[in-house]
Symmetry: C2
């Protein structure tokens, strides 16, 4: 009998308990052993839970129970999750977590400890909720050199952008709607400012390239400045605006890692990913493009990914799974302004004709965009492909002739 | 040092050798052991191959080499692959194969032998080429009860249908074009008649539900009868025609398994899967819909999936991976005509008005379709949802009033 402890009984934690008992028979068959949940850690009381005798408020009950071989961490946040997880691994207990902040900031260290103690530290649920991404990345694509990852990694922002694109609802109203439906938190900043997507691209990049990418190294920009005018201009380019987490492996040994709203062609598979759905596109040298698509969040999808990790821990109780990435030198993540791309720019000016002429001198491949009912003191254009810092320099040169209202990167995925 | 043998040096086999030596260093790191290819079995001569000293024409060189622990089978066909693979497993050698015909017809038996001999029998490349599907299905979705699988499983037919839909090229011309590009064989029947997709849905259904579904139990219909008129009518319904492999788990304990061209809404993720791309949509009770998308065939994608299995065999040389399905009683696959669905029907008649009236009496939810420039002796309609055999009975009742030209099932995916 393999005993399990579940730390945290919020949305995901209660889902883990529910999925485990609902499918216990088939789970045990797949794990090839008997299993039960011995402890559920939460500071709150759950007097009506059918599992109320399993609840504890003390981490000691878990760490001191030598029969507990697998610990599920679904508390969220770095503290005290980090301390608890570390102590579990050091005591020989494997850990399955859905905590993206923990993995994105402490992954390399915790994986190292797991390696030293012969335990497993698994975190499939930390990216893409229930969509299987991390395991295919580390196993199925093992024979590939992965060269690029692009993903719609946050369901809340994708829901808001879908509302803006499909129903012409302004950002603030779309956000309010998402909050009413429970898709966005009352404090939505971690979603709409990009921090959540940032943690996920860190985890994907770390696993794909074998070296830890930390959140504070990732240039991150949210979707709060996107307007319906920008959405309309994107439409005029047969494109849509999506919040894209991206990481590329460069020839110089470094990687890029960024999160920002981007204009992508409707021909791209990611352009058709709507509402709260997530999708990750992985490019490998042998395999070409592979896309994984599904619900990126939600109680049961996320819980089912955690339980799958628990099954894997149980199957590998004596044989470590080889998921790993290392810490690294400082100079690993490339400055994002060195990336080559095209930008969509919208400017206002009192003298549009002069501004246009100056812009033409700066940008060889400039394309002016047209929109029905456009403001007559406004122009929009795309710059052609250049290093981002070069684009910014060229725009500085015309700064006195008008004001930049919008600036959105264009990505070829 | 783990020694590998590769049986077959055709497109996939030569790709396996290429991918292995190209990425050997990272492959060995991921497998956590040293590996080399010791033998390549092929009856042909390859005097210019850099690995020519590894070639053999005799299977005995492989079966009698006790240092060979992993055998790659990429010969295709059931004979002699079945005999060779069986003997390898019985001798304690693990096998990785891309041979869908072998897995679809002999999977249960070979998995049973692998279980008894403590070896692995892996076949990720047999479905969806390089797209990781089988492993996520068996592992990541382990906590889910899978209730339905729908897939675009054949790249050749999807290319032909895409040509018909996007460029209004007739079937025979699209097929010719596919042959010119090497997407279709000179004898294209296994693709266009659906046999290839049939084998793949067998493998997916067997793995998902744990019991073997055999190809001869799957109702299979190809795309040869699809006309541009049907494509246009589907467009008028905001839908497209795709060749769909489908399997559902029924409440009575049985499963359905079918392959046929189907009309699906453009809102469905599978509708946007074009050209030679494949995609599989899996519905789980906890996870909801998950879609895996990528190139379903091709030398390097398929080879990279085989090599990933080789890595997994090497990692689990002493610990069997738990992929399994069992043989079963005869009465497991539900008669396809018991399925409830709607059909699109196109009929010709000398007396359209009388036919229309009779059809209205038969089908409560009938919807007549309109098309610009439609033949005046022709009508098209959808039947509303009914058991398929009931639809057919109702159509028989009006058989003397007109002739059915097209009949295509409509699926909600």
């Amino acid at each position: 009998m393999v005993k399990i402890a579940v730390m945290g009984h919020g949305v995901v934690g209660s889902g883990v308990v529910e999925v485990f008992y609902k499918n216990r028979e088939s789970i045990q068959k797949k794990a090839d052993c008997q299993m039960d949940i011995a402890h559920i850690l939460d500071l709150r009381d759950f007097p009506d839970s059918p599992y109320k005798e399993k609840f504890t408020k003390s981490f000691d009950d878990i760490i001191n129970d030598d029969e507990v071989k697998i610990v599920v961490e679904v508390m969220g946040g770095v503290n005290p999750a980090y301390d608890f997880v570390k102590r579990c691994l050091l005591k020989g207990k494997s850990v399955a977590t859905s905590n993206k902040e923990l993995v994105a900031t402490k992954g390399a260290e915790l994986l190292k400890i797991a390696g030293e103690t012969g335990t497993n530290f698994l975190f499939e649920a930390s990216v893409g909720g229930g969509i299987p991404i991390l395991r295919p990345l580390s196993q199925c694509l093992a024979a590939n050199d992965i060269i690029e990852i692009d993903g719609i990694l946050n369901g809340t922002t994708n829901y808001i952008l879908t509302k803006m694109i499909k129903e012409q609802v302004a950002f603030s109203d779309a956000l309010k709607n998402a909050q009413e439906l429970g898709y966005a938190e009352r404090d939505p900043s971690a979603d709409i400012e990009g921090a959540d997507a940032c943690r996920k691209i860190c985890i994907l990049a770390s696993l794909s390239y074998g070296k830890h990418v930390y959140p504070d190294e990732v240039y991150t920009e949210g979707i709060t400045k996107i307007s319906l005018t920008d959405v309309a201009y994107a439409e005029s380019m047969n494109s849509v605006i999506k919040l894209i987490g991206r990481s590329k492996k460069l020839k110089n040994g470094k990687v890029t890692a960024t999160v920002y709203p981007a204009i992508i062609s409707k021909d791209c598979q990611l352009a058709n990913v709507d509402d709260v759905y997530n999708a990750v596109c992985v490019k490998g040298d042998a395999i070409g493009d592979v896309v994984f698509y599904g619900k990126g969040a939600g109680k049961l999808p996320t819980a089912s990914a955690v339980v799958a990790d628990v099954i894997d821990c149980a199957k590998h109780i004596h044989a470590r799974k080889l998921i790993n990435w290392e810490d690294r030198s400082d100079d690993y993540v490339e400055e994002y302004k060195n990336d080559v791309l095209s930008k969509y720019i919208r400017m206002t000016s009192n003298d549009i004709e002069s501004l246009k002429n100056s812009l033409k001198q700066q940008f060889n491949d400039i394309q002016f965009l047209t929109l029905k009912d456009a403001d007559e003191n406004e122009i929009a254009f795309t710059t052609g492909e250049l290093m981002e810092k070069v684009i910014d320099e060229k725009l500085s040169a015309v700064a006195d002739m008008g004001e930049i209202v919008s600036s959105i990167r264009i990505l070829n995925i």
